[in-house]
């Protein structure tokens, strides 16, 4: 039990240290954790109304999904958050996410950021850090 916790903590630390930069301006530019939570809210309703990908979320607890995605984006943006969700390859296992699905999700996230008034260049700074996840998410 104790060892498991240590392992989890060290994994979390490794993940956060690989993204976190001291006073990362991106976290700031996205409006902090609250700003990111707003983006995630909008993006998530886009996911669920997008005929291309909504079925992917059929068995997903959306409340937990939103918290996890907010924490993840916060962490990726260099914010002081802890992501408690699964790894990207774990989370998307068996979902048969195609590259087109991945891009559909990106478009929905972009629309969410548009609505939150995040400038295009700032959006791209976030997307640049998310893009490599395509390799773990797209399994088909």
């Amino acid at each position: 039990m104790h060892r498991k916790f240590l392992l989890a903590a060290s994994v979390a630390l490794t993940i956060s240290s690989s993204f976190a930069r001291a006073d990362d301006p991106l976290f700031h530019d996205l409006g902090g954790r609250d700003g990111i939570a707003t983006i995630v809210d909008d993006a998530t309703s886009n996911f669920l109304s997008d005929p291309r990908i909504k079925a992917t979320f059929d068995n997903t607890n959306m409340d937990r999904f939103k918290v996890n995605l907010t924490d993840q984006l916060c962490l990726v943006a260099g914010g002081p958050c802890e992501y408690k969700g699964h790894s990207m390859s774990e989370a998307h296992k068996g979902l048969h996410v195609t590259n087109a699905d991945f891009n559909a999700l990106v478009e929905d996230l972009q629309a969410g950021m548009d609505k939150a008034g995040v400038p295009f260049a700032t959006q791209n700074r976030l997307l640049a850090r998310l893009a490599p996840m395509q390799r773990d998410v797209v399994t088909r």
């Binding site: 195609t98 087109a100 295009f120 893009a131």
Partner: protein, 310 residues
Amino acid sequence: MRIASRAVMAAHFALAAVAATPVLADDSNPSSGSGSIVDRGMAMFDDGKLLATGGVSDLEGAGGGGLTTWALTTGYGTRDGIGLDGHFTYIALPDYALWTEGAAIGLWDRVELSYAHLTFDTEKVGEELGLGKGFEFDQDVVGAKVKLTGDAIYDQDSWIPQIAVGAQYKSTDHVDILHAVGAKSGDGTDFYIAATKLFLAESLLVDATLRETKANQFGILGFGGDKNSGYSTEFEGSAAYLFSRDFAVGAEFRTKPDNLSIAQENDAWDLFAAYFINKHVSVTLAYLNLGNIVIKDNQQGAYLSLQVGL
């Protein structure tokens, strides 16, 4: 330009507009894996790439910028799909006109096959050269491109660009005249290696391409010449800044061989703005400078390109 070719051009635009209409109306229709054979066939056109990441059609019909060939696979098909597009490009120069129409298909975001037909109108220069006013050279270009490695869009954690190699077989008519100006042949094959990288955090797309070619003025004046009959290694470079998802502004530069002693062939460059109306229609406008072409210097002018796709 003669009235006949104006009519041809208008017809091309009309055709392009007609081709664009049904796909525009179909915009909201999600691709579906089930249904009739037609539905399933259409689902191959997954439209899955992000806007603008298919690039546009270059002069020679390949996916790229306007003047340079990129490593990106044309169209909006992902690794599971197909992208098909057609283009019409018109270049108005002080003493000449050049237009090109063509079609290209991108397969599984890996292989690209393209065809383009270039028409070079000598306008009044044709008369000065004794060929006749509005004398035209026509050229066919058949191209193939294969992505070797890297992904320009997703590999944001690496410096490695998307790398593709390709070949373009070009054949120009009026071989007797081409020989008379010093060209060795009416046809030739270009080989190129292209490296393209999107620096997404900077909203900047950069390409560098090396081309082995014998082509004089893209091949419009034949291949090889009295000054140099062999291949030369030429460079193409471009950079585009993305102002928004549907609008990019950039510059391109391309060196060309100088094989003919009747003229000094210059490097070409352009400044362009591309507007991606949606995944089916894009418009590119540029200021293009081709330098000297035969007896006329400073051939700089407007470049207008329309691309439509499935």
